[in-house]
Amino acid sequence: MESDDLNRSTAIDVTDITVAYREKPVLWDIDLQVPRGVLMAIVGPNGAGKTTLLKSILGLVPMAAGNVRIFGRPYAEVRRRVGYVPQRGSVDWDFPTTVLDLVMMGAYGALGWVRRPGRAERQAALDALERVGVRDLAGRQISQLSGGQQQRAFLARALIQDADLYFMDEPFQGVDATTERAIIDILKQFREQGKTVLVVHHDLQTVPEYFDWVILLNVRRIASGPVSEVFTEENLRLAFGGKVGFLSPHEAGSGEHHVLERKGAGD
């Protein structure tokens, strides 16, 4: 059937999402379709509702209206296939636990009630830490981590969820260049594995380099689609209200994007 076909190629299908906080709309009537296997940036000015969009899809924020389908099913049915990397600042890093312990929390969903993580989860966590380049920090108390290391620990926790769809809230916020590289590498691996990733992103300059899809958001959806089509100066001006000091995004971006695509094709 035709709709089945659509389900197979669509990771997220969101219609009419509206979120209000004390009568003030934070998100207004958002429709969004995200095909499978893309890296998508969520871009917009402060207060545009980027984080709220993620959280409302995940059910963390109550919606006034809207319908969310993930892989063609209600979110509750496919939860196990969805991973979430919250903002670094959303937890207390002085919590008494180790990096390894934190990463193993990514396995809690698959473990289910009461069962404790065992040797397999431990090994998975160590492998995930290896992949993000901080395996030597496994035994550290989490309060001893730098900002970049915290972000990598969060990323490792998401890795062992082994999801098909990831939501990441500002993973590049305040991290060092090495960490940024490490995150980009993981994102590329995700794309190669056909996983879909939605990332709340702040740095407009790097959008064309890092992502292939984008949604421009400012309470309403300004535009969404492939970066090459949608990430235009005009749309940016619509989203940011003409205040962007941005040197011709399309030109600057499309070149780099092209390079990335060629590399991908060669692999």
């Binding site: 959280k55 995940l58 939860r79 969805v82 008494p96 809690y108 969903g109 009630w113 309060s143």
Partner: protein, 374 residues
């Protein structure tokens, strides 16, 4: 009181066991309250228990421990529910909601208690001991009631360890994994109510929240592992509870609650001051050491600068000059002695100092310049 009489004295043994049990339960569960920054919720819930105690007595006419504790638990739980509803449905912030619930419930409880005490019959005697606690009144029946409530609470905590840990650290992530966060929250709140309720007779509603917060706060100082922290908090709670209860029941007219809290506070104080890494003493020592290192570097830099001026790396200088240059960071004599012991500077005659070859090399590496001549 010697050890023998402690174990042979039935009353004392009951009191000590009861206080230890309540300390262990409230200490370990309080750890989760502390980590979730819900310390004040415990305070509100324990004060909110008072009208429950009074009403339970008024309705049933009984002072049986289980009856009173169930009344107290329901009222405490209702208080917590009010806090959640008030913050969720109105613009009142959580701290105000906590203050409101605490004072309103406690006020109603006091009014009811006063009214009960004015009544002519004598059956109400002793109900007011729930304010500040009276461990001496504990009998075996109470101990059984405490164990019946406390042991299952601890077992539930151990059973849902992983879930409670995740809830305390990252509730939104827990939700995204599919855990029913609100129900877990409810479970933890209920366990806290149980911890409060079993302490009411011994510690009293006014100071019970200290039993939740203080052992956990002390334990946090000594460890970075949740498991160890819970265990330590349980031990601290049990030790403080036992010490305070035994002391207050062997000295006449000494209320138990305040005595226990004094014991626990002493543990907290020691932990805040002396715990390795997190303790204040440790931090002070670390600061001192890094200041000494900086002073040492400053004097080395001074010697280096002087030798550059004289175009002779080993030129010696009077101590007074170095002292004058050290004005503002101080400790020139001490630093020079330390540099000497490290072989970086040497004494020339009675009152002059010069860099050694090792010192000149070290200084050149730190501050640059003059390498060519060394």
């Amino acid at each position: 009181m010697d050890l023998l009489s402690f174990f042979s004295d039935y009353t004392l043994r009951t009191v000590a066991l009861g206080a230890a049990l309540l300390g262990a339960v409230s200490g370990s569960l309080g750890t989760f309250a502390l980590l979730r920054r819900q310390a004040l919720l415990g305070d509100a819930m324990s004060h909110a228990a008072l009208p429950g105690i009074a009403l339970a007595f008024l309705v049933t006419g009984s002072k049986a421990p289980l009856v009173i504790l169930v009344g107290a638990g329901l009222a405490g739980w209702l208080g917590a529910w009010f806090v959640i509803k008030v913050t969720g449905l109105t613009r009142v912030k959580e701290d105000s909601a906590l203050g409101l619930v605490l004072s309103v419930f406690f006020g109603v409880g006091l009014v009811l208690l006063t009214w009960i005490q004015r009544r002519p019959d004598a059956s109400q005697a002793g109900l007011d001991s729930y304010l500040f606690g009276q461990a001496a009144t504990l009998v075996q029946k109470d101990l059984v009631a405490m164990a019946v409530l406390g042991v299952p609470a601890l077992l539930l905590m151990l059973l849902f360890w992983k879930e409670l840990k995740l809830l305390s650290f990252d509730p939104e992530f827990a939700f995204s994994l599919g855990y029913p966060v609100r129900r877990l929250d409810l479970l933890l709140t209920t366990l806290l109510v149980v911890a409060i309720v079993i302490g009411l007779q011994t510690v009293g509603v006014v100071l019970m929240s200290a039993m939740l917060v203080a052992p956990a706060a002390a334990a946090r100082q000594w460890t970075d592992r949740l498991g160890v922290m819970v265990l330590l908090a349980a031990l601290f709670g049990a030790a403080g509870g036992m010490g305070g209860a035994v002391l207050s029941s062997s000295v006449r007219r000494l209320p138990t609650g305040p005595t226990i809290v004094l014991f626990i506070s002493a543990l907290v104080l020691v932990s805040l001051l002396f715990a390795p890494n997190r303790g204040l003493l440790w931090a002070w020592f670390r600061r001192l050491r890094s200041r000494r290192r900086l002073e040492l570097r400053a004097v080395l830099e001074d010697l280096h600068a002087l030798s550059l001026q004289h175009e002779d790396p080993y030129h010696s200088h009077r101590t007074a000059v170095l002292r004058a240059m050290s004005e503002g960071h101080g400790g020139a004599d001490r630093s020079l002695a330390e540099l000497e012991s490290q072989g970086l500077a040497r004494r020339v005659g009675a009152d002059r100092w010069a860099l050694t070859p090792a010192g000149a090399e070290e200084a050149a590496r730190w501050f640059g310049g003059g390498e060519g001549r060394a």
